[in-house]
């Protein structure tokens, strides 16, 4: 870069002035092109979902159109749509809440107490976080079948609960560790029991951590595909992920409605993600780099 500068330079203008011209334009153009590439599929899903039939099935794509909601009416009018919505919500919310309660206890012990086997436990949680659930579907199917628990919403909830549990423990451990021990001790000196100190001092400080952790858990459970595909063949017990993949086969070339279905499915996650935006990068690095 600096080779481009012609003028003899005082140290400060070295980077800020000259190279901006050629370098910055190239950089910004690349950035815009990349931004378009990354956003395009999401944009195309959304815009297709608002197009009238006649402007979707065209050789040359239509970029300007008068939006319609007919595709959404088709998508939500599908048999059992509300059953799928209810199932998805039951399973995700149930799994996340269970995980929060169980993880809160475990991560408190890991972060704040010394006990035999603590290190082994940390290692177990780390390994469980990498569990290859997608590859274990056959065994899970056999277990569910033997226990007569195929097509069971509670079983699916429990499986999702264990899926998000290690991550929840791991991140909450970090959040609890970030609360200074001295705060807790001060509360105990002032006459709180350990339980009270936890409830009155640590818990309120954990609220943002609990929030973002549960939202990540929500995304995982909401998106899960392999388990529900294998375990819940019965339509009444399926979730939105399966509904979406079957929509494609069931509706053939009604791409408008399929895209409306995709949008409906993706929207909650996109909203949650925008909300989490800040924490996402930091939180994920904390998860990835620090374990």
């Amino acid at each position: 870069m600096s080779t481009l500068t012609r003028t003899p330079r005082p140290a400060q203008t070295l980077r800020t002035k000259k190279p901006l011209r050629v370098g910055a334009v190239a950089k910004n153009v690349t950035a815009i092109v990349l931004a378009l590439v990354f956003v395009f599929p999401v944009y195309w899903m959304f815009s297709s979902s608002l197009k009238p039939q006649s402007e979707i099935l065209t050789k040359d794509p239509v970029f300007l159109f008068s939006p319609t909601t007919e595709n959404y009416t088709t998508a939500t009018g599908v048999d059992l749509f509300w059953t799928y919505v209810t199932n998805s919500l039951l399973v995700t919310v149930g799994a996340v809440l269970l995980a929060l309660v169980v993880a809160l206890a475990a991560s408190f012990a890991i972060a704040r107490m010394r006990f035999k086997g603590r290190k082994g436990l940390v290692l177990t949680v780390m390994m469980a976080q990498m569990a290859p659930w997608e590859v274990m579907v056959i065994a899970m199917y056999m277990i569910a079948r033997d226990g007569d628990m195929l097509n069971s919403i509670p079983l699916l909830t429990l499986i999702y609960f264990v899926m998000v549990l290690p991550f929840t423990i791991w991140t909450l451990r970090g959040f609890i560790a970030a609360v200074p021990v001295e705060l807790e001790e001060a509360a105990q000196i002032d006459g709180c029991t350990r339980g009270q100190a936890f409830r009155k001092v640590i818990f309120p400080l954990l609220a943002p951590g609990l929030m973002s952790t549960s939202l990540f858990g929500f995304i995982t459970a909401w998106n899960e595909f392999a388990m529900v595909l294998v375990l819940n063949k019965d339509k009444e017990a399926q979730t939105l992920t399966l509904w979406l993949t079957q929509f494609q086969t069931a509706f053939g070339s009604d791409w408008g409605a399929t895209m409306a279905a995709s949008t409906l499915f993706a929207l909650p996650v996109l909203i949650v993600f925008v909300f989490l935006q800040r924490r996402a990068v930091g939180g994920m690095t904390a998860g990835a780099v620090k374990g």
Partner: protein
């Protein structure tokens, strides 16, 4: 920060027995008038010793039942013959290593292994290369452009897998897909009604585009976050010494971010190797079983062909390969943990 200093100030004068007494749960007021020396010992050893185990028990128990047990069941199943007939009669037929010997002598299985490994390698190489480049670009952009690009990356990252698979099918649709239109507009011949899902290979290429598109944001944004910690002084020093951009990257940025590179690479290897929804939902492993990677192969052999025992053996072999990648990953993580 103020909270922190306050905490330390109050905590400093407290001595050990007082703390232990405060921690114990059973007696309501922590002040015992007479027995100042005795109680801490007794109380500490009982509830203090058991409490962490009680707190941890629910988590361990649920992981044991729903994670460890299925894994064990998977191993057991892989030594049994469980086909359609055995599923109905519910009898247990032990066949030792037969499932494994059958697989290891099967050209189809090795074909899938080679395909999965190649697929993973190509994906991870592209993800790491492009992700790093975009991360470096983010670091050099102005504030506004950086926000624009980060937001775009966020969208791709946030897209639920199943939704993005559906969208990609639509983008690459044979008749009305926007990609065929784009190819025509760019002047390529033969894209009137090009079928992108014609072969297993071409299907996997589309899956790869999807995976790379969806995975780059994680690498790029974390790369950028990592770069901001390197510190501008280092870059400036390198520049002052006359290092080129390339040289700066290899001698300043890379050594600093090496742990990040290694850990992210292994994470991606693990994630891509076990990717199921993307591969399966794209074309159900077809056409003609040509886009099956190991997890999909196991699923189709099991629930599709009803060779449950064989499928369990495939899973176990897949898990063993994953464990090889994971052991590297854990070694890196533990090293990192020790250093910090």
């Amino acid at each position: 920060m103020t909270v922190d200093s306050q905490g330390t100030a109050t905590a400093a004068p407290v001595d050990a027995p007082g703390r232990a007494a405060g921690k114990s749960k059973t007696p309501p007021p922590p002040s015992g008038p007479k027995e100042v020396l005795q109680p801490p010992r007794g109380r500490r050893s009982l509830p203090g010793g058991l409490l962490p185990y009680l707190l941890v028990a629910p988590a361990l128990l649920s992981m044991a039942v729903l994670l460890l047990y299925p894994l064990i069941r998977n191993v057991v199943l892989s030594f049994q013959q469980v086909n359609k007939r055995e599923m109905i009669t519910r009898e247990t037929v032990w066949i030792g290593f037969e499932n494994y010997t059958k697989l290891l002598g099967d050209a189809d299985f090795w074909g899938v292994v080679v395909r999965s490994v190649g697929f993973t390698a190509a994906n991870v190489a592209l993800i790491m290369l492009l992700g790093t480049l975009i991360g470096l670009l983010l670091n050099r952009l102005g504030k506004k452009m950086r926000l624009v690009l980060s937001l775009a990356l966020m969208f791709a990252w946030a897209m639920p897998i199943v939704a993005s698979v559906t969208v990609f099918r639509w983008l690459f649709d044979e008749q009305f897909g926007v990609v065929n239109w784009l190819m025509r507009t760019l002047g390529f011949a033969g894209y009137e009604q090009h079928n992108w899902f014609e072969t297993g290979f071409s299907t996997l290429v589309i899956v790869m585009i999807l995976l790379v598109w969806g995975s780059i944001p994680f690498v790029a944004l974390n790369m950028y976050a990592g770069l901001t910690t390197v510190g501008t002084e280092l870059y400036e020093a390198a520049r002052m010494d006359g290092a080129s951009g390339w040289r700066t990257f290899w001698s300043v940025v890379f050594p600093n971010l090496k742990p990040f590179f290694m850990i992210t690479t292994f994470l991606e290897v693990i994630w891509i190797f076990k990717a199921f929804a993307q591969v399966y939902a794209m074309n159900l492993g077809g056409p003609d079983r040509g886009s099956e990677t190991l997890p999909v192969y196991a699923y189709i052999e099991g629930l599709g062909q009803q060779h449950y025992g064989l499928a369990a053996a495939i899973s176990i072999l897949t898990i063993l390969m994953l464990i090889a990648a994971m052991s590297f990953y854990f070694r890196l993580i533990l090293k990192q943990e020790d250093e910090s």
